[in-house]
């Protein structure tokens, strides 16, 4: 269902973006020293932290001889939303998010390289303003890269929605990277986690019913978002590495 009133007659969204624009993404790798890899990522006002431990020896109950066991935990800080949350993790929504995260990340990790071991990925949402899942996937990718876990490709997630033809606008138009306001307007939200370099889709989720006619354009817009995000993540990793090497050089000298 396309939501109404999301596009102005001048073709701008409520926050001033054009339909095909992402929110501002800022990120940093290596924000913690304890974990093997960590990252902080902002997508507009949605802010998340990710930490990666491992690969390390798997606990007996989870042990698998086929590949590494990916263990994800998604939690939202009690202060992350406007009204204070009571349970940061363990509720149904968080569990579902954890499972979805695991699905997307397992698709990217070369699991077959580490049998009998496990990787723990913790993500914490510090501030939620829509698209928390996407931000979590993107942050986790950065953290995994920093931890040196071999990946098939960056896994990037992006959401897209559909704006109904409003007053003065040309027609229904897909919106990229949906914020909280746009989510709350009641339109459909399509979330995609993809490996843009290989073109694989790791996870696809949709919040409402959407007519078939619109599905392809919404999906392709979300995929475009994933590709845009990959460029940003790649640059961040390269910058971090450049910076990191110099630091290490200084230390060894």
């Amino acid at each position: 269902m396309p939501a109404t009133d999301l596009l102005s007659s001048q073709g701008l969204r409520l926050d001033g973006r054009r339909p095909n624009e992402l929110r501002r993404i800022r990120c940093r790798l290596g924000v913690f020293t304890q974990p093997d890899g960590s990252a902080y990522l902002e997508q507009g006002n949605t802010k998340v932290l990710a930490a990666v431990y491992g690969p390390h020896q798997a606990s007996k109950s989870k042990l698998s001889t086929e590949g590494v066991v990916v263990n994800c935990q998604y939690s939202m800080a009690t202060f992350s939303t406007g009204e204070r949350k009571n349970r940061p993790r363990g509720d149904r929504k968080s569990q579902e998010m954890s499972m979805h995260l695991r699905q997307a990340l397992t698709a990217a990790i070369k699991t077959e390289l580490y049998p009998r071991s496990q990787i723990d990925i913790y993500v914490e949402v510090l501030q939620a303003d829509g698209g928390a899942y996407c931000a979590c996937v993107n942050a986790a990718t950065l953290a995994l890269t920093e931890a040196g876990v071999p990946l098939r490709a960056y896994v990037c997630a992006s959401s897209a929605s559909m704006a109904a033809a409003g007053a003065g606008s040309a027609g229904p138009e897909p919106l990229l990277d949906v914020g909280h306001v746009e989510e709350a307007a009641g339109g459909v939200v399509l979330t995609v986690a993809a490996l843009p370099t290989t073109g694989h889709i790791a996870l696809l989720e949709m919040s409402h019913r959407l007519h078939m006619d619109y599905f392809d354009i919404v999906l392709s817009r979300a995929m475009q978002g994933c590709r845009d995000i990959e460029v940003i993540l790649d640059r961040a990793v390269r910058d971090h590495l450049a910076e990191g090497w110099t630091k290490q050089d200084v230390m060894t000298i």
Partner: protein
């Protein structure tokens, strides 16, 4: 692309929440001016001229206008006029307008969308140089004003870059806010008020008339006639703590000093009386009401009060007449909660049709305007074209109602045409009923197939070819939009018939999401006036390509059943088809074909089978409890040249009418069942709720007086007892009963299946569990949607997004129901108009029946014409028996269903509200009844007139004496 900048808003949702939203500022927004050398415009993006020509004497250099929010809100009529060009509409303004009034928002968008007008909407809120952050403690309005000033000064400097000094257009800020003007001048912005600007515009006559006289209503405390309204904050807290109530104000039709408001928590609606009690509320407004303590409650007055003909100036009077007229009644049942309006929550003003009152002083500019709608007060307008407008019907918009003005202030919008002119009168009907009737736009016409369109061969391949079958259509005479055709033929099995209903395939031409589709959806229905048809789809479709004309190949959507001799349905099929109608017949022709035993061709056989089956179907339906209702329908015989009505007659009903109707019902039900199965969430259906018992009270009482007990507990028992209520020798009585029963019913409505439970689908009148409209897609949009759903369901077409959207469907249903109702009202208004024209030069004596008994009148119906109206009874001669609803005068008793003889004539003393006057002839009441001329041959003509005047005078006297009686009592 620039980003960032967040801003804070606080909202209340029970508890206070802090909401942080992103706000992106951009550097790629264009200024839209051809004089600009900086912005990277493409050629088609220039909206504003490089050297705009000035039309205002105050500013004789090229300039652009920047408007304030209030200017757009109040002066939209001036802006719509083709005078002001090169205007910059800021986003700040647009958003405020959208927030305050969506109708005006839509209108300004239309103006911006019109390329010729050169209105540019500039997104100042997201431009990096014009965004203004709200200062701590600053009010939102002040911030917005500052944003507007900032944008204006930005434009000024922006245009001066790379331009020779003095060569570039200047900016003039138009605002009516004095404070804002002062601050703008301090910042070096040229500014001006709307009034000053418009009054100095050259070359556009009449633009000044359209200026809205907007005064802040509460500011005029000097010479105030009305008490001040409470502020929105006071109203809000008052409603919260239960001291005030919120309701929609409905003005009384009969008494301009009285109105009611429906309020939650009170069973009866709240009575509001007098100038002070109504306090400037206009019919339809959402108002805040203070209810008086119970001892001050009154009963509604039953006198008729009209505003006086001449302009009384700014005085309030008549108050005492009304207030004294209504003494607290002894009878507890009659008093209703009474209160007064203390504030207006939202005005629901629209544009009103009416005429100018003749002014006492020639050449004056201030005039009084009388709306056609009786419930709307007169309006004070200013115009310099009064001589020209005096004989015209005009459209006026309301602006404001200050405390010191007796009437609201308004301004002239446009003239509709001379009073009494048929087109102008039709225009009034259409406008007053909000019927979209503009010509179809170019975009809509572009969606049509070419005039010489024929069915392409590949389309025939896709469909079932029924061209060889003998199909015919039966319609009223003169019908050009034929949307249904029928056939019946025996099948191989004995006693089983194949019956098909073929409906014009409108959806083949009206494709979803095209301009044509949108226009049809907004019109929703074809509106039939007596001498005019306002089509839902353009003429080419409605009376040619979609109309199933005889002998021509047409696309159709068919519903074909196998039916056995006892009218049991064995199977149902739906498919798209190609048909060639053998004959387009009228009801009469079809009837003759059936009755004429010498005819034995295919058409006649087919019709006879249909007729036979239809009778069985009808019987089954009636056995189920379907109601046979009646309404007085009439047809006008219209003069082919002048379009003046010549004669009226009640519509004739023949067997073939009900034959066609029966199969249409069957098709509708079959389609409804199929849709509900396949689209449980979004099937478009039609339901008819069963009426609440209270609706029947008066009806039952009236029937009892005639000696009949009607059982209304279920539709079946109701139908049965209606059938039994027959008086031998009075054939019209049963029809009358059914007419009255119709008025007790609820309205049938369209709905989307997802919004109601299965039980609520029930159609009370037809006594079927599920129903929809499938058979008239040319004239109803609901049928178009049903066609699309059915096509998707049988795989003949694909679905599209809007078709399956539940919320969209609900919104569409609301529009369908609204338009449908308005179309009915417009149709009735047109009939009324034509009856008035018909009786302009004639007077008739006819038999009539009493439909209802009121306190001071009888509601009578003339069966011959289907006319209805009040017959006023003087209260000094007649006494009203409330319990039994009777009027008694001496030995004459008048009650519901009584048969009378009345005299009909037209009263044209009031141009605005011409009405038919009914006078009693029989039973004869001395001193009241009209005496036909044959019986008083000796009396000269003059006497009659005197008599009428006397009667009139008497009525007036009674009203006054009533008033004075009460006065004396109070003393």
């Amino acid at each position: 692309m620039w980003t960032t900048k967040t801003f804070l808003t606080k909202t209340k949702r029970g508890n206070i929440l802090k909401i942080v939203r992103e706000h992106y500022l951009r550097d790629d927004l264009l200024c839209g001016s051809a004089a600009c050398n900086v912005c990277p415009h493409k050629d088609d993006e220039y909206v504003l001229d490089p050297k705009p020509e000035s039309i205002c004497a105050l500013f004789d250099y090229p300039h652009y206008l920047v408007l304030d929010t209030n200017v757009v809100l109040h002066q939209i009529d001036v802006l719509e006029e083709d005078a002001l060009t090169n205007v910059i509409i800021l986003q700040t303004v647009l958003e405020e307008v959208k927030h305050q009034n969506t109708a005006i928002f839509q209108r300004i968008l239309d103006v911006i969308g019109n390329k010729k007008r050169k209105f540019y909407s500039f997104v100042n809120e997201h431009h990096k140089d014009t965004y203004v952050e709200r200062n701590p403690g600053e009010k939102q309005n002040d911030r917005n004003d500052r944003a507007i000033r900032k944008a204006a000064s930005w434009y000024e400097t922006h245009l001066s870059i790379n331009n020779v000094k003095g060569q570039h257009p200047k900016i003039v800020l138009i605002t009516d806010d004095e404070k804002n003007r002062k601050m703008a001048q301090e910042e070096g912005i040229t500014c001006c008020s709307v009034k000053d600007y418009v009054e100095n515009v050259n070359g556009f006559v009449g633009l000044v008339d359209k200026l809205s006289k907007n005064v802040i209503p509460e500011s005029c405390s000097k010479d105030a006639l009305y008490p001040a309204h409470l502020t929105p904050a006071e109203i809000h807290s008052g409603i919260r703590n239960g001291k005030l109530h919120q309701g929609t104000f409905h003005a009384s039709r009969d008494n301009f000093l009285e109105g009611t408001a429906t309020v939650n928590g009170y069973e009866k609606s709240i009575l509001l009386q007098g100038h002070i009690g109504i306090n400037r509320a206009v019919d339809g407004d959402l108002v805040a009401i203070e209810v008086f303590p119970e001892e001050e409650w009154r009963k509604p007055s039953d006198i008729v009060l009209e505003d006086k003909a001449d302009d009384p100036g700014d005085l309030l009077e008549e108050e005492s007449v009304l207030l004294n007229a209504v003494k607290p009644a002894d009878n507890k049942n009659e008093i209703t909660p009474t209160g007064k309006v203390v504030g207006i929550i939202r005005r629901k003003w629209r544009q009103y049709c009416g005429i100018l009152l003749p002014s006492k002083f020639p050449g004056a500019t201030r005039h009084l305007f009388t709306p056609a709608e009786k419930r709307i007060p007169r309006v004070r307008i200013e115009t310099r074209q009064s001589d020209m407008l005096a004989s015209q019907r005009i459209l006026v918009a309301l602006d404001s109602w200050p405390r010191n003005s007796r009437y609201p202030l308004g301004h002239f919008v446009r003239a509709l045409g001379p009073i009494g002119d048929k087109d102008a009168e039709n225009e009034v009907i259409l406008l007053e009923h909000d019927v979209p009737h503009a010509r179809f736009s170019e975009a809509v016409l572009a969606c049509l197939p070419p005039n010489d369109w024929t069915i392409p061969p590949e389309e025939i391949k896709k469909r079932v070819d029924l061209r060889s079958i003998c199909i015919c259509s039966v319609d009223p005479p003169g019908c050009t939009d034929i949307d249904d055709a029928l056939h019946a033929r025996p099948t191989a099995t004995a006693g089983v018939y194949e019956v098909g209903v073929h409906i014009a395939d409108v959806t083949h031409f009206v494709r979803p999401a095209t301009a044509l589709d949108k226009e049809a959806a907004s019109r929703s229905t074809t509106v039939y006036l007596v001498d005019k048809r306002i089509d839902m789809v353009p003429d080419l479709l409605s009376s040619n390509l979609c109309s199933l004309r005889g002998g021509e190949e047409r696309l159709a959507f068919s519903c074909v059943w196998e039916i056995d001799e006892n009218a049991n349905i064995l199977s149902t099929k739906f498919h798209k088809s190609v048909i060639k109608s053998a004959a387009a017949m009228t009801y009469e022709e079809a009837q003759i074909a059936i009755d004429d035993s010498s005819r034995n061709d295919e058409i006649a056989r087919s019709l006879r089978t249909l007729n036979k089956l239809a009778k069985k179907l009808k019987k089954k339906r009636l056995d189920n409890g379907a109601l046979l209702l009646a309404s007085p329908e009439i047809r006008f015989q219209v003069d082919s040249e002048t379009h003046e009505p010549l004669e009226v007659q009640a519509k004739k009903i023949m067997d073939t009418n009900s034959m066609v109707e029966e199969f249409m019902l069957l098709a509708n039900v079959s389609v409804a069942q199929r849709l509900a199965e396949d689209f449980p969430q979004c099937a478009l259906l039609r339901r008819h709720p069963s009426p609440p018992p209270a609706n029947f009270e008066h009806f039952l009482l009236a029937a009892r007086q005639q000696g009949f007990e009607i059982d209304v507990s279920t539709n079946k028992s109701f139908s049965k007892s209606l059938d039994e209520a027959v008086i031998p020798g009075r054939p019209y009585f049963n029809i009358l009963l059914r007419i009255m029963a119709t008025r007790c019913m609820m309205q049938a409505v369209y709905f989307s299946s997802g919004n109601h439970t299965q039980e609520e689908y029930y159609h009370y009148g037809l006594a079927c569990p599920i129903y929809t409209h499938f058979t008239s897609p040319i004239r109803r949009y609901a049928d178009v949607l049903v066609h699309r759903l059915l096509a998707a369901s049988i795989g003949a077409d694909v679905t599209h997004a809007e078709l399956l959207d539940v919320r969209y469907a609900a919104a569409l249903c609301d529009n369908l129901n609204y338009r449908h109702r308005q179309a009915q009202y417009a149709g009735r208004a047109s009939v009324a108009l034509n009856t008035h024209i018909l009786f302009k030069y004639r007077v008739e004596i006819e038999s009539a029946v009493v439909l209802a008994v009121k306190r001071n009148a009888l509601q009578v119906l003339i069966p011959k014409y289907g006319l209805e109206g009040p017959l006023y009874l003087p209260s000094d001669m007649f006494t009203y028996n409330e319990e039994n609803h009777m009027q008694i005068c001496g030995d004459v008793t008048l009650k519901t269903f009584d048969e009378l003889t009345v005299r009909l004539s037209l009263d044209s003393t009031n141009l605005q509200h011409r009405k038919l006057v009914f006078q009693l002839v029989k039973p004869f009441v001395p001193g009241f009844s009209y005496v036909p001329e044959e019986q008083k041959e000796k009396k000269p003509e003059q006497m009659e007139v005197d008599k009428e005047q006397e009667n009139l005078k008497k009525r007036k006297d009674t009203a006054q004496s009533k008033g004075s009686k009460k006065k004396s009592k109070k003393k």
